[in-house]
């Protein structure tokens, strides 16, 4: 690591001021950033610790739940209102990392975490367009079991690693940010970018912008929701595929439905096409299969990750079957 300075921000405005420079990085829990610094992927000259900013979890008058960006992942998952009203989110957070890491990691940091692509982390030995734009991608022709099949580009096939963000995508969460240009709300599904020809840019945040909170609108899905994660071992591993889903039923048909995927795309992947197939339709295996087909129609599998198409299909069908009362 190169020498760094460390300071603690006492307000969002101060964090924004201190972070408005190429060499500065905001530090939440450090579970991702400290590791990337040690590997030489990130080389900040200044760390601004924002873990002392708001970690409050409280209901707004609108009925939304507002979660301060400094809230630890474990605190969010344990919060009674999250467990009662957004069980999908509690389950997704508890599926991620380990208890130690969840105690450290913040909500804002989780939104900003970078891909776990092995080539991205391998500074000495691998080419990576996300780490060094224009250098090439060794994952495309390499070991790509853990990589994305949807939303990729010739420049980058890295998958987004978060579990929490997948549930947030399905729950229509919004990200409250503050910056030199003022405050704005960004829908979670628009917060992360697809790689295109600029895979080095993970999010739509502008320089100096700081995540203040995540806002969850009231959800109709508490009664029928799930987060199912499929991985190479039963715990403490990143997702091969994960599904966050919630739905409501009316007279035997699916009324409202929200679905998001993790592990198969460069960002938390809201499955709007699958939802459109299911909405208003029967809770039947054929409909579940058609929904998966619609979402995966544009998939671009590679040698090492083509299995994810069948795995995604089966996981989605199993989750929908469970949520609509059947068994698969």
């Amino acid at each position: 690591m190169t020498p760094i300075s460390y300071s603690r921000a006492t307000s969002v405005a101060e964090a924004g001021r201190l972070a408005d420079g190429a060499g500065a990085r905001l530090l939440g829990g450090g579970t991702n950033l400290v590791d990337l610094m040690r590997k030489g992927v990130e080389r900040p000259s200044r760390l601004v610790d924002v873990s002392g900013l708001s970690d409050a979890i409280e209901l707004a008058r609108s009925g939304s739940l507002v979660i301060g960006a400094a809230a630890r992942n474990s605190a969010v998952a344990a919060h009674p209102l999250v467990r009662q009203r957004y069980p999908m989110l509690a389950r997704a957070i508890l599926a991620g990392a380990s208890a130690q890491i969840r105690n450290m990691a913040t909500v804002g940091g989780n939104l900003m975490q970078r891909t776990r692509c092995l080539y991205f982390a391998d500074v000495a030995g691998s080419r990576c367009n996300k780490r060094e734009p224009g250098s090439g991608c060794d994952a495309v022709g390499g070991f790509n079991r853990y990589h994305a099949v949807l939303g990729t580009s010739p420049a980058c096939i890295a998958a987004h690693p978060s579990d929490m963000c997948v549930a947030l995508a399905a729950l229509d969460a919004r990200v409250q940010v503050s910056g030199p240009g003022g405050d704005r709300m960004i829908p979670l599904v628009d917060f992360h970018r697809l790689p295109g020809d600029r895979p080095d840019r993970d999010t739509v945040l502008d320089p100096g912008e700081v995540i203040v909170a995540v806002e969850l609108p009231a959800s109709p899905f508490a009664g029928r929701s799930a987060y199912r994660k499929v991985r190479d071992r039963s715990s403490y591993a990143f997702a091969l595929v994960s599904v966050a889903a919630g739905l409501t039923m009316r007279e035997g048909r699916i009324e409202e439905v929200a679905i998001a995927f993790g592990g198969i795309a460069p960002k938390p992947w809201r499955a709007s096409r699958a939802e459109a197939v299911l909405r208003g339709g029967p809770a039947a295996g054929a409909a579940f299969a058609a929904a998966a087909d619609a979402e995966l129609a544009d998939a671009a599998p590679l040698a090492g990750n083509a299995f994810k198409l069948a795995l995604t299909r089966r996981t989605l069908e199993a989750v929908l079957s469970e949520l609509t009362g059947g068994s698969l």
């Binding site: 400290v34 590791d35 380990s98 208890a99 130690q100 890491i101 105690n103 715990s235």
Partner: protein
């Protein structure tokens, strides 16, 4: 600028790059806390900050400024073993012992999480206020601590024994 470590105040290093793990081992010679992967994948460096289990390899010492750190040396000593240390010995919860300090720090915090009613990924009812610590629950809750000797069965037994004694 001080970190309280096992009850004593320690100055925060001038170099902000120093991890809490390196401060403990290299600076203070508290070598009970182990360096395993040094990248957040194994749990050998687990310590408690303000009673919560964390990874000291991914924590900068500066982040612990003003907070209270407990390492394995703070939990028990050779003449005064922690109940988990006794149980690990009785149930063969280790072979080489390298992961053991991290396992025991993690388990100590985990038992308090269960007492506080905090669910895990395998808890069936997220709304339940009282938890039953099954073997499956222990395995899930301890999944952040790897043992390459494969002593996991003994580790789970030891933890279940302490949990049962605690509840009795």
């Amino acid at each position: 600028m001080a970190i309280r470590i096992n009850g004593s105040d320690v100055a925060v290093p001038d170099d902000a790059r120093v991890s809490l793990l390196d401060l403990l081992r290299e600076g203070l010679h508290l070598t009970g806390t182990k360096v395993g992967c040094n990248q957040g994948a194994c749990g050998a460096c687990t310590v408690l900050i303000d009673g919560q289990r964390v990874l000291s390899c991914l924590t900068l010492a500066a982040q612990a400024d003003g907070r209270s750190v407990t390492t394995i040396e703070g939990l028990g000593s050779g003449s005064d073993l922690h109940p988990l240390q006794v149980a690990f010995i009785e149930h063969d919860g280790f072979q080489c012992g390298y992961c053991t300090p991290g396992q025991i720090c993690a388990a100590a915090a985990m038992l308090r999480e269960v007492e506080a009613g905090i669910p895990s990924y395998v808890t069936a009812d997220l709304a339940a206020e009282r938890l039953t610590l099954s073997r499956e629950e222990v395995r899930e809750r301890m999944s952040g601590n790897l043992c390459r000797c494969g002593a996991h069965n003994g580790i789970v037994e030891a933890i279940l024994r302490v949990a049962a004694e605690h509840a009795a």
